[in-house]
Each structure stands twice: as C-alpha cells, then as structure tokens.
C-alpha cells in the first residue's frame, strides 16, 4: 500500500493532466484515467478508553483523525456503521478478515488514557490486505486541552507513513477575521488550527489589519496595521499576544511584510512619493536596505526556502507580472508570461513551485508555476480568488475567495496542488488573507 500511495502522489506531483485511479480488486496498482482519484478506504474505530475518564476523548480523537485523512481527498472513511469488529483492546490482535470484508484498506486503532489533565494517546496503523503494520505503533503525551493537536499528530504520522510525504495537520493558520458590510468592514487578526478549530483573536477590530505572515518557527506573526492611521508593519508574539511596530516610524507607508527563512530579516514594501518599492530590514539593528528602485509598483515579496532569492510582483512592464531577484536585490528576471496579470507570488516550502493570483478576462485564479515560470497551471477560478499560502508540506494551498456584489463576503478555501479537493475552511465570520504555519513541534 505504501508503494501504491507513494506512486499515486508522485503521479499528482508530476502534474499529470489526467487523474489517477486505482483498481479495487487484485494486486494494488495504479491506473491512469481521465477521472479523479479513487480515495483509499480506511477505518478509524473509536480509540479504546484505557482509563475511566478517557471515554469522550477517545471517540473525539478518532473523529478528528478521520476528518483529517478524509479531508485530504486521498482517503475515504468506511463509516463505523459498516464495521464488523469492535476494537475493545488496543493490544489485542487485529481481526483482519473483518476489515477486509468491508474493504477498509487501512485501519487505525488507538488507546487513550487520561490521568488528571495528562493525556496519552497510543496508536497503530495497519495495511489490512497485506496484514502488516504501517510502521511501528507510536505514543504521544500532553495535556487534555491539547487533545486536538494529539489527534492531528496521529493523522500526520499515518498520512506520512502511507504517502511518504510529511503531513500538515498539526499546523495553524493566522488570518484576518472580517465582519460588517462591505463599506464598513471590521478586520481583526485571528489564529486557528488548520481545520478551523480553536479560533483565537489576536487584535481587536479598531484598525484595519492585513496579510499576516508567520515567522519560520511559527511563534511570531508579521502583519500590516492602520493603527497609527496609515499602514505600518507590526510584529506580534503569538503566545503572549504582544505586538509592536517593526517598520520605521517616519510616516512612510509600509506593507506586504514577510520573514526571511532565517527569521532575522524581513522584507516589505514602502511607498515613497507615490512609488512602491521593496525594502529589506534587519530586525535586530533596524537597518533598512532598498532592494528595488523602479518607478513601478514592486510588492508582495516572498523568499525561496533557502533564503537566496525573492519572488515578487511588479508592473514595470506595464502590467502586474512575477519576477525573481537575489535576496540582496539587483537585477530581476521576469518569470510570468501568460495572458493576464499575476500577483501575490509565494514560494513553496519545497522550493519547487510558486503559487500566485492571476487576473484574466475579469476572473481571478489561484495557480502554480515552476520557479522558472514554466508549467503554469490554474487551480481555481472565481469572481475573486487571491492570496495563496502553502501547507507546510507544499501539497495544499489555502486562499481567500470573495463573492460578488453588495453582500460580497470573504471565505477561506483550500485546494490540492493537483487542482482537486477545492473546499471552504469553516470560520465563525468572514475570513481573508490566510497564512499557514510550519508544522508544529
């Protein structure tokens, strides 16, 4: 099975125009069809409550694991109502025949114990048809309040073992929560788990806030705020919810910030005399250096994962296009050449792709291209899609979709880089400008 799914994902990564489907019977194999992936069926019975107080969590954790895996579009849950076996002892032998009978190709079992507020989760994965374990069983411990994170860690381990890719479930998303009508919109920073759970607000809505971005370690967030009356770059400590102005406080507009991979440097745009360029700032010293100097709009800089290059947008050619330059500035080479306008480029964490917003013929798209501009593919299309952010494993993109008209509302969506599995991310209010964190430790 590992081999099968690894093949399946390589198929997706190779950007095949056709979908990949698998045969349900006989030896596992890959068939290229023009259909979509047939998701891999799995079963996650309620985890076994191993202490008296673990009953509720043992069921909830299994539900989160199931939602994580099914939410990828690569897996499909065989519901509990179809299960033949009940797992009542985590250490008892697996009744493979019962899981084969319902065609659950993967089985995930777990045991949960709670002592005080300490939660311990043990789990195992099984390849049902080969009657093998999917790697060794693992155990995570933490506090009971962190139960969702433990569930996500189980999902990450299972996903990783089956696909050969790192997971992305134990991660967070910082975003702008929106309320109120379009001409009186209130915006505040918020953070949540990748799946929309555990929303926490980081600022009040007294000033416009835009486009938060995580630090490489996920403990700080850069964002643009109008708190002083004009846009300035702020940095916020996520754990302590403390913030300060980072950009020079000299009345110059600063926006579109992003951290360098070393976490010590930031880049952002400044507008001086109506002209917007990209600047780089050393956080410790506050030293500012100018990376672009053209009369056009240069903005939305994003570093390559090795920190050596920056992809950004510029309208120096007469319309918005994507360019790559050295992280120290200097000559830039244009990488986007298709029809329409390109903006908000973001380098993937794997380094292989750039995600972007494209505007063409009155429609907006989220797309990806290789870092040299080749193999452009559009993943979405709507009245207004913009601002992609990468899942930590570089397989999924989250972005903002805004609906048309007077009652237009912003919602977060995610889509696989294959273009499949487009779906909204549930948030309490309107939401925009998502930024995905690295995988948590």
């Amino acid at each position: 099975m590992r081999q099968f799914l690894a093949g399946l994902l390589i198929g997706a990564a190779a950007l095949l125009p056709a979908g990949v489907a698998m045969a349900q019977d006989g030896p596992l194999r890959i068939e290229i069809t023009d259909g979509v992936i047939e998701p891999l069926p799995f079963a996650v019975p309620d985890f076994v409550a191993e202490t008296g107080t673990a009953g509720e969590l043992s069921a909830q954790i299994a539900r989160v694991v199931a939602a994580d895996l099914a939410g990828t579009g690569l897996f499909r849950e065989v519901p509990a109502s179809a299960h033949i076996s009940r797992v009542t002892d985590f250490d008892a032998p697996v009744q493979y025949a019962d899981w084969k009978a319902i065609n659950a190709q993967a089985l995930i079992t777990g045991g949960v114990s709670v002592n005080g507020n300490r939660l311990t989760v043990r789990f195992s994965g099984y390849d049902v048809f080969s009657e093998d374990m999917l790697g060794e069983g693992l155990q995570f411990s933490g506090t009971t309040e962190g139960w969702r994170r433990m569930a996500h860690k189980v999902s990450d381990a299972i996903y990783s073992r089956i696909t050969g890719e790192s997971g992305y479930f134990d991660s967070r998303v910082v975003f702008v929560s929106e309320s109120g009508p379009k001409n009186d919109r209130r915006k505040r920073l918020a953070i949540m788990d990748y799946d929309g759970a555990n929303v926490q607000y980081l600022t009040n809505s007294s000033a416009i806030v835009l486009a938060p971005r995580f630090s490489p370690t996920g403990d700080q967030v850069l964002y643009t705020s109008y708190e002083s009356g004009f846009p300035q770059v702020h940095v916020l400590d996520v754990a302590r919810v403390q913030r300060r102005i980072l950009s020079p406080d000299d009345g110059i507009m600063s926006f579109a910030p992003r951290f360098a991979p070393d976490g010590k440097t930031v880049v952002f745009s400044q507008s001086r005399g109506g002209n917007t360029d990209i600047y780089r700032m050393d956080i410790a010293s506050g030293n500012l250096s100018r990376l672009t100097s053209a009369p056009s709009i240069e903005t939305a800089p994003s570093f390559s994962p090795d920190g050596s290059q920056i992809v950004f947008e510029s309208d120096r050619s007469g319309s918005q296009q994507l360019y790559v330059m050295a992280a120290t500035g200097g000559e830039a080479r244009r990488i986007s050449f298709g029809n329409g306008r390109y903006g908000t480029p973001v380098w993937s964490p794997r380094g292989d792709l750039v995600a972007f917003t494209k505007q063409n013929r009155g429609r907006f798209h989220i797309g990806v291209m290789r870092t040299d501009g080749s193999e452009e593919r559009l993943l979405t299309s709507s009245f207004l899609d913009e601002g992609p952010t990468w899942a930590p494993n570089g397989r999924v993109i989250m972005f903002t979709r805004e609906t048309q008209g007077a009652s237009g509302r912003a919602t977060l969506y995610s889509v696989d880089i294959s273009g499949r599995n487009l779906k909204p991310v549930r948030t309490p209010d309107g939401a925009s400008d998502p930024a995905w964190s690295p995988l948590q430790n």
Partner: protein, 177 residues
C-alpha cells in the same frame, strides 16, 4: 459611522448622476471628476443646508469645493475634471492656511490587495503633486493609501467601481475658526 453614512449618501447621489450620464463618453473627465458636492440632505453638520455652510468650514470644502477626484481603471492620471477640482481645493487651502490635509488614495476591488495599496499611493500622490504645483505647501499634506479596503460603493459593477477609484482630500489638522 455617521461620517461614512453621510459619505455614502453623497455617493449614492453621485452614483445616480453617473448612471444618468454614463452613456456619454469620457464622463470621468467631464467635470464630474471630483466634487463630492451636492446632495440635498447630505449635510455634514446636521440641519444646515449646503447654502448655510461657512465658506471656511471643512464641510464647505467637502461639499461645495469638492473633496475627491476619480480615476480610470488602473490609472493615476488626473483628468480635466479632476484638475478643476484640485485647483479649487488649492484655492480653498490658500484661503484657509490654518488647515492641513491628508489625501487618501483608494482603489476598486478588481485587483490584489498589495497592488491596490500601491495604486492608491500613486493616486494620492498624483493629487498631492497637483496641489503642490498649485501653491499648497508640501508640509501641509500627508498621503495614505487604503487600497481596496474602504470602498464607498459596494456593488460589483463599474458604476460603483468608478466611485471607489478615488483620491479624497480630508481636512485633517489645524483649528476651526
């Protein structure tokens, strides 16, 4: 809320004017290019009709001189109408030297967030340069861009977009006499 509601009322009136004349070519430059003037019932200070505004008041500036200029799609050039409005603004500012101003540049929703911030900065700066060329001291002028964050009109059609692509001169500092 009160101010923005009032602005909205003004622009609804303006939007009607636009749709009424939108078949005429070049309406952006026909002198409409500016003024937030107008609207009956759009008085800033509750109860005073436009005719009763003191000529040196910010409300007079907003409603009678005209506090805004409009732009074509993705452009920051000032049309003839916009220049007329800005010349009137410069005249008012010369007569009322105690005021400072902030010029707010805005974009419509057809664009990405960061680019629209840059575009709004261009528009605010275009208005600023025109005022400076007409004698307003640069030290009295601040500029700021709101990109597409503060639309006045909320439909997703050109009639609304045209009103949102604007540079608004806000009487900021100084003291009222």
């Amino acid at each position: 809320m009160g101010i923005s509601g009032m602005k909205r009322a003004i622009c609804l009136v303006a939007a009607l004017a636009v749709s009424a004349c939108s078949n005429a070519t070049g309406w952006r430059d026909d002198g409409f290019g500016g003024s937030g003037s107008g609207g009956a019932g759009a008085s800033a200070d509750g109860g005073l009709g436009a005719g009763a505004l003191a000529p040196n008041s910010p409300a007079y500036f907003q409603q009678t001189v005209g506090d805004r200029v409009l732009f074509a799609v993705d452009q920051h050039e000032l049309g003839a109408g916009a220049q007329t409005t800005l010349a009137a603004q410069a005249g008012w500012l010369a007569a009322n030297p105690e005021y400072t101003i902030t010029i707010e540049g805005h974009a419509d929703e057809q664009g990405t967030r960061e680019y629209n911030l840059g575009l709004g900065a261009r528009r605010a700066n275009a208005a600023r340069e025109y005022l400076v060329a007409n004698g307003v001291s640069p030290t009295r002028i601040k500029t700021v861009s709101f990109g597409k964050e503060r639309p006045l009109e909320i439909c997703s059609a050109e009639a609304c977009y045209a009103q949102n692509r604007r540079a608004v001169t806000v009487i900021a500092g100084g003291f009222t006499s």
